[in-house]
Amino acid sequence: MNKVPNNKAWWLVLPMFLLVAFSAIIPLMTVVNYSLQDIFDQNTAYFVGVEWYQEVLRDTRLHDSLLRQFGFSFSVLAIEIPLGIAVALMMPTRGWQASAVLILLALPLLIPWNVVGTIWQVFARGDIGLFGWTLNNLGVDYNYTSNPLDAWLTVLLMDVWHWTSLVALLCYSGLRAIPDAYYQAAKIDRASRWAVFRYIQLPRLRNVLVIGVLLRFMDSFMIYTEPFVLTGGGPGNSTTFLSQTLTQMAIGQFDIGPAAAFSLVYFLIVMLVSWLFFTTITHMDKSDSGSKYDQ
């Protein structure tokens, strides 16, 4: 759409800008401030420059936690994106079934995150939970509170349960936007089901998939509440992801300086990965619909 240059439009944006800036910039500046100082109490603080940054970049605990975080986020994406596409392809297209499936799929997304944790905490327990009880009765030695692998898999399964719907609903709306003429042309060409998916549906899903991958990456990378409620980060450190390590540093040990320094590194990592992904995707095929994003 052609847009008219008009700087008076700033007046329309201004209230929004002030509101978001209040909640975004002031806390961010506070974190920057912490990250450069050694704070003993309210009135005693020394400027230490980049010392905290050097310290946290050498901290092996943070390295481990960062690696775990990447492993978790990639597992999440590797499962949720294909599964979400598959579910979207299976969804009915019209009638009451379509509405019913939409609402059922949206359910996990509408549950407060700590309640999601509670639901799985109960559901996966061996003594009172259906899932853990069934596994144990089938002869699988499953206990998410003592076995690190079980705990990790439970957190992963919980995330798949919680968020695959988002990918599925995104893809569903992408599929609905494909004109019928495409399918008719494919029918005339006697295209196989796979060919229809590969050459018609998948390319048209690209835009929504970009949104889906970005949202899932950002949210899984910042996951905190659900594993905190479910496993508390344990057993050991097996499900202690980055946000939780940082919260332990900042609030548990009052290492505010290093925690603030690493928060900013963390923020930069999220931005960098998102930006890299976004630029690669939009440059991979510029002639296609990448221009949709150049607002």
């Binding site: 944006v13 509101l19 978001v20 499936v101 003594d127 009880w133 349960w161 709306s173 089901r193 931005m271």
Partner: protein, 266 residues
Amino acid sequence: MISRRTLGLVIYLIFVLLPIYWLLNMSFKTNEEILGQITFWPTNFTFDNYITIFTDATWYMGYVNSITYVAMNLVITLLVALPAAYAFSRYKFVGDKHLFFWLLSNRMAPPAVFLLPFFQLYSSVGLFDTHLAVALAHCLFTVPLAVWILEGFMSGVPREIDETAYIDGYSFGHFFIKIFIPMISSGIGVTAFFTFMFSWVELLLARTLTSVDAKPISAIMTRTVGATGIDWGVLAAAGVLTILPGILVVWFVRNHVAKGFALGRV
């Protein structure tokens, strides 16, 4: 082929519903039955857990608090996001692209690490433990999302309509309220749904910024861990009650929700 697809979908939906079924099942049981044996249907069907919640002010005020700050957040978000989204969809102005990117980048800030500054900021302006504090803090992620979705919907309205209205002598405010807003009402509905959803499910900020008067229900739920162990039945009932508002809201926007999930962009 059709039946295989349906079968796959049914299996996935069962996977989605099983944990929720289990929670619902537990909420109608007594603690003895929950801890005693696995039963797939409550043998002693009881509403006691729900009665506990609805008769105890410390419990039900949690729902009132949650709904209050979510509603406040919704109103604030729509008030500031509507004109901003209009500006983004219609005009070029200095710094527009940077501003848009900055807005979205707020979604990339890990909330867990900004808790302490948030706490200090809202304490220093005297808003700690008020509904307004939580509503304002949630604007950090609801406003960018709302602007993004609304911009998508607004760009679908041809600008000839604006121009015709101005030629007909409408002032901007008059046009915006009388003509433009009704035209994108489904977009506003979807935006409201998403704003509600993200504010309702968030707990970390809400819990940090409140202590007594504005404490959200999801934080009160931790109370069930008592000296005698966890009161599983009440915990399950409280969990079920947090799901209900979501179902109610998604029902109203069910026909537009798919488009909304694609942020109005397909």
